[in-house]
């Protein structure tokens, strides 16, 4: 189902979990894997000086340096590349990570983007002014689903058996559902449809009565049935649940209970996190806490 995968990697340990998944998927699915590395942000106005996120040095970038970096990326993944099973290309570039990843995505039109971990550079002051993290920004604008792997996921694509689909009933969630269903069908695994009713006071401005909560839960079940179950035709191996709480906490708890191997959800926030607060979006929170990879779909 994926022919072309864009793997945005730091080519460091931070991306190792993601790398395992990326190579595993590309191998299993016979997909082309594009290893993409944004080596740094141009600092210094119009000069050629770039802060290399890997070496943590200011370097002067030219074609030679870029090919050196590409070579480095290749070396870093030499084990995975050795057997020649994975059809792979490598590219390095300079710029703000989210923008360059999106630029590359626009150019090669992948079916999936896998985001590796950062080298903590989101903390660096050069990024601070650009609101929202790389993840948020890529998730917001990506032309295809993005997969984020935060913890180690043993053998990924081969052995998926439980997929959790978290919905907030938005349009983007519908898209995410299509995608989750497609995976569930092609890998023949169980799909768990889940909605978390947000009762955090910040959301509603006041707390709800128990009656209200229960009524909303019933409503959510109805919506799930109407929106999603109806479209699964005769599929039997699914479950659905609605819990109340803080959405990201509930999704994570739920996924643990269902032994999920993958969470699929929509990236729905239109606005970037302007305050740059550490909380981040719902989706980011899920990614941070979930024990399994997360796929975000926005269109």
């Amino acid at each position: 189902m994926f022919k072309k995968i864009l793997f945005a990697t730091s080519a460091t340990e931070a991306s190792d979990h993601a790398a395992r998944v990326a190579f595993n998927m590309a191998g299993t699915l016979k997909a082309h894997l594009n290893l993409f590395h944004v080596l740094g942000v141009p600092t210094r106005g119009f000069s050629q000086v770039v802060f290399d996120v890997k070496t943590k040095k200011e370097v002067s970038v030219d074609d030679e340096y870029i090919s050196w970096v590409e070579e480095e990326v290749k070396n870093y993944y030499s084990n995975q590349l050795a057997d020649g099973v994975v059809d792979c290309s490598i590219k390095a570039s300079v710029g703000f990570p989210h923008r360059e990843i999106l630029r590359q995505a626009r150019e090669i039109e992948p079916d999936l983007i896998i985001l590796g971990g950062t080298t903590g550079s989101d903390e660096d002051s050069v990024y601070k002014s650009s609101t929202g993290s790389t993840l948020q920004r890529v998730a917001k604008a990506a032309p295809c689903p993005i997969l984020v792997v935060n913890r180690s996921a043993a053998s990924f694509w081969g052995g998926l058996s439980n997929i959790v689909f978290g919905t907030d009933f938005s349009k983007a969630s519908d898209k995410a559902f299509d995608f989750a269903l497609k995976i569930a069908m092609s890998l023949n695994c169980e799909l768990h449809l889940f909605h978390a009713l947000d009762i955090s006071s910040t959301h509603m401005g006041m707390s709800m009565s128990q009656d209200e909560i229960e009524q909303k839960i019933r409503e959510a079940y109805r919506k799930i049935r109407f929106k999603y179950v109806s479209r699964m035709k005769d599929r039997k191996n699914y479950s659905m649940d609605v819990w109340e709480g803080i959405p990201y906490v509930e999704i994570v708890k739920y996924s643990r209970e269902k032994h999920a191997d993958l969470i699929v959800m929509a990236h729905n926030s239109r606005k970037l996190d302007i305050d740059g607060s550490k909380i981040g979006s719902n989706m980011e929170q899920v990614i941070m806490r979930a024990g399994c990879p997360v796929i975000s779909v926005n269109r």
Partner: protein, 462 residues
């Protein structure tokens, strides 16, 4: 070796030469060659005789050596009042000396002059306001840069920068196609959120022709989207030229006057082709200076004006807010202590001292705005002007130069610095990186968008 392979008196004219020079990492070989570059004294002297007329000659002659300009220069203040940083001293010991010696100066002298012209002056023109005789050292340094450029004594990045303008008519290697394509991409990315968003390319007789800074295209194209969103929200009839869209001029920093002319004529040609009512440039100071203030003279326009009325982004924004074309949701106004960086290039040098303040009166919650001291046309340079930001060789000097701005900002207690100028924005970003004083900085566009009352025609259907 009189003329090096990289370091010589010839400007960069071709893509190959440009790539080759770029390939010389950090200009290592370039600067090595510069050590043995000959000075063509005859050329230097004839150039001076042809171009150095009564204004500059008189300035050099009547300077009373009174030192009243010393305190006006931020580089003097920040370098512990080093007398060698007094503006009058800096110019007398370089340009003054060259003229006194009728151009008979040696390689070593030219190195000193190069460092003085690019690392001891940002051409902010502040000293000119403080000299009783009206001697503007900034202008003279600009002139000196031209002489040095002609002799090949110019920092590596600026030789490249000027070359970029010669080859691409842009400060970076962004082609015309790339510009249009990137703009379209950005609009696609945002059109779901802002239905009807479009980028009208090469539309004739539009009310506004928008021009940008190539760095936006290359590194933060969101800026393009933001411009489109605001024009769209304001219901403007606007367009971008597919050719002549670059408003900046590194050639101006380099002193490559011929390249300045080529660059600006490219933009004027777009104006003449598309006949817009007005041109609006992006939030950039030196771009405005190059295309609107100095440009007409490079292009030989006797009335000192571009072919179409040309305004800075803040002028358009202030007008749009004033006339209610853009509406701000008062709830979402800025509620953190905020200050404004006055860019020398359009405040001191183009009189726009109140414009940005008018914008702030709409977008900042009353009571949160803090003035820097000094401010308006008396504001100090951000510390990175005139090309200083981008020159690797003079980085330590530049970092030192940032201290003035750092202290000015700290004194305001502001947490957010609004810098409607690419160069200032860069310098302030760098100063946060260098000194970590815990500030944020921003252009106006993203701030305004974040508090915009989206008109009905732009609301995404849900």
């Amino acid at each position: 070796m009189p003329e090096g392979i990289f370091c010589n008196k010839k400007p960069i004219e071709t893509e190959e030469a440009l790539t080759a020079l770029l390939g010389d990492t950090s200009g290592a070989q370039y600067y090595k060659e510069m050590k043995s570059l000959d000075v063509d004294s005859k050329l230097l002297w004839t150039t001076i005789q042809n171009t150095c007329k009564s204004r500059i000659r008189t300035w050099l002659e009547i300077c009373a050596h009174c030192g009243m300009c010393a305190d006006s220069c931020f580089l003097y203040l920040v370098n512990d009042r080093d007398p060698k940083q007094v503006p009058a001293y800096k110019i007398q010991s370089t340009l003054g000396e060259i003229i006194k010696r009728k151009g008979n100066v040696d390689n070593k002298f030219m190195h000193m002059a190069m460092e003085t012209a690019w690392a001891k002056c940002t051409c902010c023109n502040r000293c000119g306001m403080y000299c009783p005789h009206g001697i503007d050292m900034g202008i003279m340094f600009g002139y000196l840069r031209g002489l040095l450029y002609q002799q090949g004594f110019v920092p590596w990045e600026l030789k490249i920068g000027a070359g970029m303008h010669r080859v691409y008519r842009a400060q970076m290697d962004v082609s015309e196609e790339e510009f249009v394509e990137t703009f379209q991409w950005m609009v696609e990315e945002y059109e779901e959120e802002y239905p009807g968003l479009a980028v009208p390319v090469d539309v004739e007789n539009a009310d506004i022709m928008y021009t940008v800074n190539a760095r936006e295209v290359k590194h933060y194209p969101e800026d393009l989207a933001e411009a489109a969103i605001l024009f769209h929200a304001a219901g403007e009839n606007w367009t971008v030229p597919s050719k002549g869209w670059e408003q900046t001029s590194l050639a101006m920093f380099a002193g490559d006057w011929a390249a300045c002319k080529m660059q600006v004529e490219n933009v004027y040609a777009a104006m003449e082709r598309l006949k817009p009512k007005r041109m609006v440039g992006t939030e950039c100071g030196h771009a405005h200076r190059a295309t609107v203030v100095e440009g007409p003279y490079w292009a030989g326009r006797k009335d000192g004006k571009p072919p179409a009325e040309s305004i800075h982004y803040i002028e358009w924004l202030a007008e749009a807010l004033r006339e209610g074309k853009l509406k701000i949701d008062p709830e979402r106004r800025i509620k953190v202590p905020v200050t404004l960086q006055d860019s020398c290039n359009y405040v001191r040098n183009h009189g726009l001292r109140e414009t940005a303040r008018e914008i702030l009166s709409y977008i900042v919650e009353p009571g949160y705005y803090r003035e820097m001291s000094p401010n308006r046309e008396h504001n100090y340079c951000c510390g990175g002007g005139g090309g200083f930001n981008g020159i690797g060789l003079f980085r330590p000097q530049r970092n030192k130069g940032l201290i003035t701005k750092r202290d000015q900002i700290l004194a305001t207690g502001a947490k957010l610095v609004i810098a409607p100028c690419h160069n200032c924005w860069d310098a302030i970003r760098d100063l946060e990186e260098e000194f970590e004083i815990g500030i944020k900085w921003s252009f106006l566009k993203p701030l305004v968008i974040s508090m915009l009352e989206i008109p009905d025609h732009m609301k995404p259907e849900e």
